[in-house]
């Protein structure tokens, strides 16, 4: 039976630095295997579409430029991504991995949330085509 049993705590914390994180000023160090933004490597991709099929949030789309020569572009919608890493697990060729970047997901614009991965010329080709309105709009 005591009264004020947390006295030790409050007394000690007077002389301690507050534990609160000074977030916008001091950023926390991220752990090395943080699940952040996806990185897609076009070189090894065979276009099996397993990652697209398994993605629970329709966050990634594979746009086909040339199926025979295995030219693909991945459109990655970061705002839809739930960072579950299922696509990393699903890919049998190790094309997808998760980086520890981009964990501050806030913007007043939509553009930073749409990322294209692939060979530069493929992306260029695709963007030009879509400007002409030739490619189908993805879901």
């Amino acid at each position: 039976m005591t009264i004020g049993s947390m006295f030790g705590d409050i007394f000690k914390s007077l002389f301690k630095k507050p534990i609160t994180e000074q977030y916008p000023f001091v950023k926390m160090e991220v752990p090395e295997n943080l699940r952040g933004k996806l990185i897609w490597n076009p070189e090894k991709c065979t276009g099996c579409m397993l990652c697209i099929k398994d993605c629970p949030s329709n966050g990634i789309e594979l746009l086909v430029v040339d199926k025979v020569n295995k030219k693909f572009v991945m459109r990655y919608n970061i705002d839809r991504c739930t960072f579950c890493a299922q696509c990393v697990e699903s890919c049998r060729f190790g094309c997808i991995e998760m980086s520890d970047e981009m964990w501050e997901l806030a913007s007043t614009r939509k553009e930073p949330f749409e990322v294209f991965y692939g060979r530069d010329e493929d992306i260029k080709f695709l963007l030009e085509n879509s400007a002409k309105g030739e490619t189908e709009t993805p879901c």
Binding site: M1, T2, I3, G4, S5, M6, D9, I10, I19, P31, N33, L34, R35, K53, D54, C55, P56, S57, T82, F83, C84, A85, Q86, V88, E89, S90, M98, T108, R109, K110
Partner: protein, 395 residues
Amino acid sequence: MEPKTAPEKFIVPIGPQHPALKEPGHFEFTVEGEVVTNATARLGFVHRGMEKGAENRTWIQGLYLMERVCGICSHVHALAFALGVEKLAGVQAPPRAQAIRELVSELERIHSHLLWLGVAAHEGGFDTLFMFSWRDRETVMDLLETISGNRVNYSANVLGGVKIDISDKQADAIRKGMDFLEERTQHYLKVVTEDETFLGRTRNIGVMSFEQADFLGAIGPTGRASGVKRDVRVDSPYTAYNDFPVKLITHTHGDLEARFIVRIQELYESYRLVRELVDKMPTGDLSVKVPRRIPEGEVISRVEAPRGELLYFIKSNGSDTPERIKVRTPSLCNWSSVLVTAVGHNLADMPMILAGIDPCFSCNDRIVTVNRKTDSTQMDWEDLRQFGIEYYKWM
């Protein structure tokens, strides 16, 4: 609910937006002076249609949907789903995967119980305990982030195993964290069992007798605080609980103090278990292959969530999407019993009694479909501002 015939009844509504409970749920307490004479609940404010939604998704996508039933016990939902699907498919995850699954669920229990300790203290107006227990909870949150890469939705499970592995460096971090938490928890146990002002708010409040708890089906720490010996980890061990058994912790009083004691003693048990798991982690593969089409059948998968027994009923029709997934979360079981015990107490005790079962509203509310309108317009900042100006012109 009693018919609302007597008009002179004084009904105090709590919720859906109420500062006491940080999640939306609506309660109506009929009070006479300060004493509650009747209590009813209305849920469904965070109803997301997950059970229906799961029927339109593949098994793999369902795993991540189920992980998002609840933000606090995300791992156990995915675990129950994965275990059920693996049972249907006739595969079993390798031993190391099972041990990692158990490790993550115990770490999750630690963070959930510490969170509850803070919330319950806050309901009782003991903000210092709230701040300190949440400060220490950061330790285990950081550990979970270190090993899984995310603080809340660890997404450790895949069908057939786990994604994450525990390295030696991480194991050391876990051991250190457990030592720190054990020392702090000892202190909190002393505070909640000895502090006079706090005991005034917990002792003999919200008493649920063994008879009530047993018959009405109270589960988890709420039931165990009334002496009901129910713990899925002991009764029907899943994952690695056979090799790393857990001790059943019960208390006899059934009041709020007993619930505090049971939860805090479970924390000790979890610390011990986590240390043991880290020390004697089996080696081997992390996952096995699970077919995309799951054979026809029905399965019941039960796991012990931090709040009590979580029951999944999974029915497969042989295709790559489930036929029916039924989720029965522990909070739903405990609601009915707690509303019975609420009658006769002071209004001031209500937040603590409600918080005493560690309610999780998101868990309860899952089912209806939400149609994503295809013609929805997206507004950017400027549009929104414009919309606001237009809107307020008419005010």
